[in-house]
C-alpha cells in the first residue's frame, strides 16, 4: 500500500438526527481514482464528507493520509479539496480572480506569489478572458471549472468531488471529468451517479442503506449494482 495516499476507515458509523447515515464502514484505499456509487440516501455523500471533516464520525476511526479529522481538522481541510454539485454555492467572492485567491488566504503567501498562482490557474482552466469579470456571469461549465481552480490552487493532495457533474451538460461533463480523471495528478474520490465516469476509476465502492456493500474492480462492482436494479 502507498502510505502517501492511504485512506483508512475502521468501524466508522455516523449518526445524524437519530438516523444512522453510515454504519460500521471499514476499508483501506490507496488508489489514484476512487469511485463511490449508490442510490440517493445510501451514505455515499456522508462517506465523502468524512474525508475533509464536513461530517464527523460518531464511532470508529478515520485516517486520511495519516491525519485524524477529529483532532487535525484544520490541517486536513488544507490537504483535502472538496467540489460540490452546484457551482453557485461554491463561489464566495465577486470576481473570478478574487475567488481563486480567496483559497490562499491566511497561508502566509506573499502578494506576488498569490497573484502568480492565481494567474497560472486561470490560464490552465481557460478563464483568462473572465479573470476580473463577475464570477456569476460565467456559464455553468465555466463556473464548475472555477470551483475546481479554486480548490486546486491551494495544491491539495486529495480531491473529493460530490457529484461534480450532476448539473452539467454532456460537453461540460466531459471537460470536468477529463480534468479530474486524466489531467490531475492528485488522488480523487469521485461520488457519482454517472456509471460511465465510475468505470474510468481504479476502484469502486458501493453503498447501500448506510453500509459499504462492495469494494473492488469498477466493472464488477457496477455490473453487480446494475443487476440489483434490473
Amino acid at each position: 500500500m502507498n502510505p502517501d495516499r492511504l485512506i483508512s476507515f475502521r468501524g466508522v458509523s455516523v449518526d445524524f438526527d437519530s438516523r444512522t447515515a453510515l454504519e460500521d464502514v471499514s476499508v483501506l484505499l490507496d488508489q489514484r481514482r476512487i469511485a463511490v456509487i449508490g442510490s440517493n440516501g445510501s451514505g455515499k455523500s456522508t462517506f465523502a464528507r468524512l474525508l475533509n471533516g464536513l461530517a464527523s464520525a460518531s464511532d470508529g476511526e478515520v485516517r486520511v493520509h495519516g491525519i485524524d479529522p477529529l483532532r487535525q481538522g484544520r490541517l486536513l481541510r488544507r490537504r483535502v479539496g472538496f467540489i460540490f454539485s452546484n457551482p453557485d454555492s461554491q463561489i464566495v467572492m465577486p470576481t473570478v480572480a478574487e475567488d481563486i485567491a480567496f483559497s490562499l488566504r491566511g497561508r502566509g503567501l506573499s502578494r506576488t506569489e498569490i497573484d502568480e498562482r492565481v494567474s497560472r490557474m486561470i490560464d490552465t482552466y481557460g478563464l483568462a478572458d473572465h479573470a476580473d469579470g463577475p464570477a456569476h456571469s460565467l456559464s455553468g461549465g465555466q463556473k464548475q471549472l472555477l470551483a475546481l481552480s479554486s480548490v486546486l490552487v491551494s495544491e491539495p493532495e486529495l480531491i473529493v468531488a460530490d457529484e461534480p457533474t450532476a448539473l452539467l451538460d454532456a460537453a461540460n461533463t466531459r471537460r470536468i471529468s477529463n480534468h479530474l480523471l486524466d489531467d490531475m495528478h492528485q488522488q480523487l474520490v469521485l461520488v457519482t451517479h454517472d456509471l460511465g465516469l465510475a468505470r474510468r476509476c481504479d476502484v469502486a465502492l458501493r453503498f447501500d442503506h448506510g453500509r459499504l456493500v462492495a469494494c473492488g474492480d469498477p466493472d464488477t462492482v457496477i455490473a453487480d449494482y446494475e443487476r440489483s436494479h434490473a
Binding site: F16, A21, S56, G73
Partner: protein, 201 residues
Amino acid sequence: MFKQATWDVRDTTRVAAFAALIAVLGLPGALPVFGGAVPITLQTLGVMLAGTILGPWRGAAAVLTLEALVLVGLPLLSGGRGGAGVFVGPTAGYLIGWILGAFVTGAIAFSGSARPTWWRTAAACVTGGILVVYAFGIPIQALVTRLPLAETALTSTVFLPGDLVKAVLATAITLTLWRAYPRAFSRRISPTRSRGAGVTR
C-alpha cells in the same frame, strides 16, 4: 439578555444571504403584491423577516451588510438607488432605522418560547419594522429637508398602510416558514451542531 452563541461560518453565510435577499426584494417586480398595483418597497418586508428569522444580532448584521454595500456605491436599494448620497439625503434616517428596527424585531420575536406565535411576531414587526423605523426616519427627514416635524410626519402617513400590510405579510411568512422549514430559525439549530460544520446530511 440575548445569549450570543459563538459566531461561525454558517452565521456569516446566512447574514450574507439575507443581505442579498433584501437587495433582491428591491428589484422591480421581485415579489408582486396585489398584482403590483400598490407601489410599495418590499425591502422593509426583508428587514422585518431578517429580525423574525435570524434574530436580533444576525438580523441587524444582515441589514448593516446591505447598507455597507450601498454606501460603497452598489445600487441595491429599491429603484436602483445606491451610493453615499442616500446616507446624507432625506431617507438617511429610515436606513439607520432599518438596522435598529431589525434588531428590535428580532429581540421581540425571539423572546419567550422557541415556537413563534402570531401575536408576538406581529408585535415585533409593527414595533421594530414600523415604529422604530419611523422614529429615526421622520425626525432626520425633517432635519434634512427643514420641513417642520409635524408636517413631515403628516406626509409620511401615506406609507403607513403599505407598511402595515408588510407587517401582516411578514407575520404570515414567518409562521408558515416555521412549519415548512424550522431549521431556518438559526438559534434553534445551534444545539445539534458540534465540531466545525457538523453533519448536515
